[in-house]
């Protein structure tokens, strides 16, 4: 290939990560487009975007000299082109093939930096895929020559009437080397309308002996009758624009010109202005009409005559022109709402900012404390203002990390589709509430457990079609993945209408495995949760689908590690619902601060149910040596932080018991001082403290003190077992 200079090499090396990330996005898009197309096979727009994605990958891979990607994607592109021409229908088989191809493209992009990573199995799979793609593309050739130009008119803006575009293009020398092809562009243009004439300019092609076959010398002149806009036509050249001499001229009627000018106008939301500026109506006439409009309805409640109607009836503006202007107005309104303007920011930079903000919060709280101590009212007030601003900035910055969960959810479409096909099951997969937002790091960490639960539902929950029919259910199962916000948390729900959990079998297995004492029958909830116990997933239960490395116990652990919790709701024969509640972010919690001696602890506020005064004598020791407290007739186990963490200080006169709600039930935590509610920035614990039970993190207070954040879930285990580390001084208080 071309001899790239060192500078070029440097540039390529620097730009490669960006390419890989963008190509990754494109392949993601290809996947979701393919899946969407399965549901709406006639959607031309989806097909067009699909083609563009493949084309973009190929084009940019060409720039980086990734020949394998270019070559392979080229075959895919050829096939997609046939689909666009209407020669091939996008059947489920074809889309399966394309999905597999897309996996290979993804793989090739990933190994772009490392040619050696391409294994023989991948190579042979690609060879096989290419062979299959060819089968499709070549099998349809005969039909192609028969149908020639089918001219599938783009439905957009048909009312305008087609325009005759004269397109003159002379391609740059590097066109082929960049992975582009005048032929594909011509084909693309052909798809936009009716080609009136087409002449290839090859007079610059030298004699064979002087010809560098990889340099492009071609040009063409095309007359294309199409409904497409100038932008659309020009869009066909978007990948070659830089070194392509391009002239696009339109022959159009006055009406078409007005309509086009309106379309091309920058965002000017007022209808009248639009029409005045293109000369469809005079300024004076517009003013006249506007005042007429105002007079006609002095009362705001009364419906005003619409200016559009007035323009049509009184000023004689052609209805189509008014309509175009209205459309433009509508589009502008929509566009301003959803225009995607993103800035790519490295995640660690954002993390650094958030980290700094955490420090700022702490420093702010420190300054606040000093101001209070100094009893300087003005200073306190200034500090309050600063703190309020800091909080706003922090919330805003944390919001930057929020991404819609839908992106992760839509990845599951493919999994569901493939898994269902493998299992011979039919399933309608629905995604609800994909726009709910969650911290990016959470989204990444929740993907695997979710995937496992979804697979589990498909594998164990949903029955095969005949079984479903026999049970009086529709043959196709239903699987709904939904997300929604609940106070300070997000609820992700996986719901199927399968057979639910077989309570008796689970119970039997739990007995067999010794997870529950033989003969003991706990509540249904407890039995259901057994499926998340380590060692419960047995060989019999794990198929090659559900048993991909992580067991259900890992799912539960992962979710709990995110400070989330799991809840099962099984209706035998009717389905299973898995609820996962997760905090919105890992960086900050609303905390409830308590003290024992000089030590301070923070409890997640959401877990706190109530606080009861316990004058020491109320906390008793039961027969098994556990501390308990009686609350309105029920007995709650109590964790005594003082003895658990060996806090040394003088015993206080009175203690309080904070009643908290853990996934396994309520229990109490005995503390000495209640400091109250406080927003807490979580700092992870060092590795040294990984094994400290009941603590999930730490936080630095405004005063510079360190407070430990209690993990309500694991502390619960300490409360319900008989205390070993906890000495049991029953005379406490």
């Amino acid at each position: 290939m071309s001899q790239a200079s060192d500078a070029d090499q440097d540039f390529i090396a620097a730009a490669m990560p960006a390419f890989i990330s963008e190509a990754g996005e494109q392949t993601e898009a290809i996947e979701s487009l393919l899946l969407e197309l399965e549901e709406q096979p006639d959607n031309r727009e989806l097909l067009d975007s699909l083609f563009r994605c493949a084309h973009t990958v190929k084009g940019s891979a060409g720039i980086f000299g990734l020949n394998k990607v270019v070559e392979f994607t080229h075959h895919v592109e050829t096939l997609l082109d046939k689909c666009r021409d209407g020669v091939l229908a996008l059947t489920p088989q074809l889309s399966t093939l394309l999905l597999r191809c897309n996996d290979q493209i993804k793989f090739l992009v990933q190994i772009a930096n490392d040619e050696g990573a391409d294994g023989t199995s991948q190579k042979s799979e690609r060879a096989e895929l290419v062979a299959q793609l060819r089968l499709y593309t070549e099998g349809s050739k005969a039909e192609v020559s028969g149908t020639t130009v089918a001219a599938p008119a783009t439905e957009q803006a048909q009312d305008k009437g087609p325009t005759l575009w004269r397109i003159k293009a002379q391609f740059g020398a590097e066109t082929f080397r960049n992975g582009m092809d005048p032929l594909s562009i011509a084909k693309y243009l052909q798809g936009m309308g009716k080609v009136e004439s087409m002449v290839c300019g090859f007079d610059q092609v030298p004699a064979l002996i002087d010809l560098d076959p990889e340099t492009c010398y071609l040009g063409f002149e095309m007359a294309l009758e199409s409904d497409a806009s100038r932008d659309d036509v020009q869009g066909a050249f978007s990948f070659v624009e830089d070194d392509c001499a391009l002239e696009i001229t339109a022959q159009e009627s006055t009406q078409q010109r007005l309509v086009r000018q309106i379309d091309e106008m920058p965002a000017t939301p007022r209808l009248g202005d639009m029409l005045v500026s293109v000369g469809a109506v005079s300024h004076d006439k517009l003013d006249e009409l506007l005042s007429e409009q105002a007079q006609a309805a002095p009362d705001a409640a009364q419906a005003k005559p619409r200016i559009g109607d007035l323009l049509e009836t009184k000023a004689g503006v052609p209805p189509k022109v008014v309509e175009a202007a209205l459309n433009k107005q509508q589009k502008t309104r929509e566009a301003s709402g959803e225009e995607n303007r993103y800035i790519r920011v490295q995640a660690d930079r954002l993390d650094a900012v958030i980290n700094l903000l955490g420090e700022l919060v702490i420093a702010g709280a420190g300054a606040n404390l000093l101001a209070r101590e100094a009893r300087n009212v003005a200073l306190v007030e200034a500090n309050l203002h600063i703190n309020a601003l800091i909080e706003e900035i922090r919330n805003g910055t944390l919001a930057l990390r929020m991404v819609p969960v839908g992106e992760t959810f839509s990845r599951f479409r493919r999994v569901v589709r493939d898994t269902a096909a493998q299992l011979g099951k039919e399933v309608n997969f629905e995604i609800v509430g994909g726009e709910a937002e969650l911290d990016k790091s959470m989204v990444e960490k929740i993907a695997d457990p979710l995937m496992h639960l979804v697979r589990n539902s498909l594998d164990h929950g949903l029955e095969p079609p005949q079984e479903r029919l026999a049970a009086g259910k529709p043959a196709a199962g239903k699987l709904v993945l939904s997300a929604r916000h609940e106070t300070g948390a997000i609820l992700i729900r996986i719901e199927d209408d399968g057979r639910g959990i077989n309570r008796d079998r689970v119970l039997q297995r739990a007995w067999d495995k010794g997870l529950i004492e033989q003969g003991v029958v706990p509540s249904d909830d407890v039995i259901h949760m057994m499926i998340f116990e380590p060692g419960f997933s047995t060989a019999e239960q794990v198929t090659n689908l559900s048993g991909r490395g992580v067991g259900m116990d890992v799912v539960k652990r992962n979710i709990e590690a995110l400070r989330g919790n799991l809840k099962l709701d099984s209706r035998p024969g009717q389905g299973l619902r898995v609820d996962i509640r997760l905090p919105l972010t890992l960086a900050i919690i609303d905390g409830f601060m308590v003290g024992v001696g000089k030590s301070k602890f923070v409890l997640p506020l959401g877990a706190v149910v109530e606080v009861i005064e316990a004058g020491g004598q109320h906390v008793r020791v039961d027969a098994q040596g556990r501390h308990v407290v009686e609350l309105r007739g029920t007995v709650l186990p109590v964790v005594r932080l003082r003895s658990l963490y060996d806090v040394e200080s003088a015993l206080p006169d009175r203690t309080s018991v904070v009643v908290v709600q853990a996934p396994k039930g309520k229990y109490g935590i005995e503390v000495e001082v209640l400091h109250g509610q406080q927003q807490t920035v979580i700092k992870p614990l060092g590795r040294l403290f990984k094994n400290v039970r009941g603590i999930s993190g730490s936080s630095i207070l405004g005063s510079g003190e360190v407070a430990l954040i209690l993990d309500v879930g694991s502390l619960c285990d300490l409360a319900t077992v008989s205390p070993q580390g906890q000495a049991s001084p029953s005379d406490a208080g």
């Binding site: 070559e71 050829t78 070549e138 050739k141 005969a142 192609v144 020559s145 020639t148 066109t175 082929f176 092809d181 005048p182 032929l183 594909s184 011509a186 084909k187 052909q190 004439s197 087409m198 002449v199 290839c200 090859f202 092609v205 030298p206 004699a207 064979l208 002996i209 010809l211 076959p213 990889e214 492009c216 010398y217 071609l218 063409f220 002149e221 095309m222």
Partner: protein, 95 residues
């Protein structure tokens, strides 16, 4: 008969250099037989792109008679798309 060149199935950028060299070699080999028109057989062409077509148009500059034989559907279609139908008609000899 000896003066027929068989175009490959893939007449595209990936094989363009190779095909050009093969064509040049073949032209050189047939340099003596000036009286016999050169025949380029395009029956096998299944895959063709702009670079492939460009290569064929370069033959136009040959200073001796030549013609295309039996162009495949794929080639005909590609020529039509790129506005080379007329050119193709001029150079195809049906026998």
């Amino acid at each position: 008969m000896s003066a027929a060149f068989d175009l490959p199935a893939e007449l595209n950028i990936y094989g363009a250099l190779e095909t050009r060299d093969a064509l040049l070699a073949w032209l050189a080999a047939n340099a003596g037989a000036d009286d016999q028109p050169l025949a380029v057989n395009a029956a096998a062409v299944a895959e063709v792109d702009g670079a492939g077509l460009q290569l064929l148009t370069a033959l136009t500059r040959l200073d001796r008679p030549w013609h295309l034989v039996d162009p495949s559907a794929a080639l005909t279609q590609a020529c039509a798309t790129l506005g080379l139908s007329q050119w193709l008609a001029q150079h195809v000899v049906t026998d």
